[in-house]
């Protein structure tokens, strides 16, 4: 049962409605002023009203010990450089197109090897546990990386709520697929987008059930209203806009693994010693506030080895990439 605690009440619920909507107006006004001032910049232009970036709702968050001190990627870059193929295969497409995604009403199904299959409402899901603000390194398989403040709580909390059977060994998650909300859904892919984790990986406290970033609810292009963030794995392991969690005893099929298994393994741990067939994974372009991203060496498990390496003891990570 999703029991509401006093600390879980939304700031939007506390704020008087008039004041809340005024605040929105204020944000829109400020953004359009900004656009006038720096119209030539594409990043500022996308902040204009009507596009999906208009983050609506601030989240009430608590601090977290799972926070790195690396310089953060600016919000505009993290929200306009996205791989969300349902909204186009170019990284600038989702920021332009994802405004057609409707995040309410939204439910998340729990299916498979659980005591009781059920459907959870997104607003209940968001109130289930205090939302922590965690700053994670995010490494893309394409050799760029960001540092993003995500807001959510450990997926393990939700998995405990789901009550999986002891026989469940994996959890698979499914993203939304809806031609109406995704008019340019590319052909040639077997939608919906599927990803999955071994149960111990899913239960690792680092694995974040994510509802927001930068203190606001997730912008659509970043996987609103709920996504997974697994910071020691390449970004594509992190399913966006999730509609279903499925518990199973077999290693689930995952989208990129299905498309090209020699390039995208099931584990997809960040590993500088296992090259992508088309480029080295030994370094990454760290996207921060500078014009040209600095190239930095890639760390094993993206630098989260202390917390996660023990889960892979005895496994040949070149074989299980």
């Amino acid at each position: 049962m999703l029991i509401r605690k006093a600390t879980d009440i939304h700031s939007s619920e506390i704020t008087p409605k008039e004041a809340f909507f005024d605040r929105r107006k204020f944000v829109v006004g400020a953004a359009s002023l900004g656009v006038g001032a720096i119209a030539a910049s594409r990043i500022s232009a996308v902040l204009s009203p009507g596009t999906s970036v208009m983050a609506d709702e601030a989240l009430k968050t608590v601090a977290s010990k799972y926070t790195v001190s690396d310089a953060q990627t600016p919000f505009a870059k993290a929200t306009h450089y996205n791989n969300f193929y349902e909204y186009g295969t170019d990284k600038s497409d989702p920021g332009r197109n994802a405004h057609t995604l409707h995040t309410r009403p939204w439910t998340v199904q729990v299916t498979g090897m659980v005591k009781k299959p059920q459907t959870v409402n997104i607003d209940d899901l968001m109130k289930y546990r205090p939302i922590e603000s965690r700053v994670y390194r995010h490494r893309c398989v394409e050799a760029w990386s960001m540092v993003i403040p995500w807001d959510g709580y450990s997926l393990s909390e939700f998995i405990n709520f789901c009550q999986p059977l002891p026989s469940a060994k994996y959890v698979q998650f499914f993203s939304l697929v809806d031609k109406k909300q995704m008019p340019d859904l590319p052909g040639g892919y077997d939608w919906p987008y599927r990803e999955g984790l071994r149960m111990d990986e899913a239960m690792n406290p680092l694995t974040l059930l994510t509802f927001g970033c930068y203190g606001n609810v997730l912008p659509n292009q970043n996987g609103a209203p709920v996504r997974i963030v697994t910071p020691w794995k390449y970004g594509f392991k992190n399913g966006k806009s999730i509609v279903r969690f499925h518990f199973t005893d077999k290693q689930p099929q995952t989208t990129w693994n299905e498309i090209s298994s020699q390039e995208y393994g099931f584990y997809s741990n960040v590993n500088p010693n296992v090259d992508h067939p088309r480029w080295s994974q030994g370094h990454e372009r760290r996207i921060d506030s500078s014009v040209f991203p600095k190239t930095v060496p890639t760390l094993m498990f993206n630098g989260y080895g202390d917390q996660v390496a023990s889960m892979y003891n005895g496994m040949d990570l070149k074989k299980f990439y």
């Binding site: 030539a40 594409r42 450089y81 990284k91 088309r278 080295s280 190239t295």
Partner: protein, 237 residues
């Protein structure tokens, strides 16, 4: 086109070919190259290499359409040279920005009077680059295409043509088809599985090659007809 206009048109073509570069520099100045400028610059210079190669390959089929278009040939060499220019920028992007070459440190070194810093930094990334050249087929075909364009560029001056002799020169310069083909293959092998972005470039290249095949077939048929009608002149050839 009257011959006396050609120098002016050439100036215009020069300017047009430099517009993409100017646009790129303008976007850089405006800090408008997106979140990952290295990625943007790599794709931009690569795209324009292929565009200019395709435009230069289009010259011949277009000029065959009408006698008045025949002096378009005067622009083909410069279009090809601009394709090589953008290909070289593309390669430089790979070497200095993509590979992990530490440009700021190299610049700081040069400013401090240590010219050797340029080489020192290169030595640091060379193992990765060598790895790429040995292992990655999309880099191999891309590099091969650049080498071909380099060969065509250095043999492009008139005096080299004369020194080589027309036949040899033409044989070498037919490699431009190979370069364009490798360029498109490079593009296909680079994109992720399922992405179809290179299909437009591929379609245009195929169209241009088909136009040539069709023209050759048409000419052969015409000349055989002519030969049938005029056996005397045919026997002379």
């Amino acid at each position: 086109m009257p011959n006396r206009l050609i120098p002016y048109v050439k100036a215009v073509v020069h300017l047009l070919c430099l517009v993409p570069l100017a646009l790129l520099l303008y976007r850089f100045k405006q800090d408008n190259l997106g979140a990952d400028p290295v990625n943007t610059i790599t794709h931009f210079t690569g795209d324009w290499t292929i565009y200019l190669l395709l435009i230069s390959l289009a010259v011949t089929p277009v000029r065959r359409l009408h006698a008045k278009l025949s002096n378009l040939i005067r622009f083909r060499r410069m279009l090809g040279l601009y394709a090589f220019f953008y290909a070289t920028l593309h390669l430089a992007t790979y070497v200095f920005l993509f590979s992990g070459y530490d440009v700021p440190t190299a610049i700081a070194g040069v400013k401090a009077g240590h010219l050797g810093e340029i080489v020192t930094q290169f030595k640091l990334v060379w193992p990765t680059m060598w790895d790429d050249i040995l292992q990655r087929r999309f880099i191999q075909v891309g590099f091969a295409a650049w080498v071909i364009l380099l060969a065509l560029a250095v043999t492009s001056p008139q005096f080299v043509l004369r020194a080589m002799g027309g036949k040899n020169w033409q044989r070498l310069h037919r490699l431009v088809y190979v370069a364009a083909f490798l360029g498109v293959v490079h593009f296909w092998w680079l994109v992720k599985a399922g992405v179809r972005t290179p299909w437009k470039d591929t379609a245009v290249l195929m169209l241009l090659l088909l136009a040539r095949l069709a023209y050759t077939a048409w000419k052969r048929r015409r000349s055989s007809k002519t030969a049938a009608r005029m056996p005397v002149s045919a026997s002379r050839t």
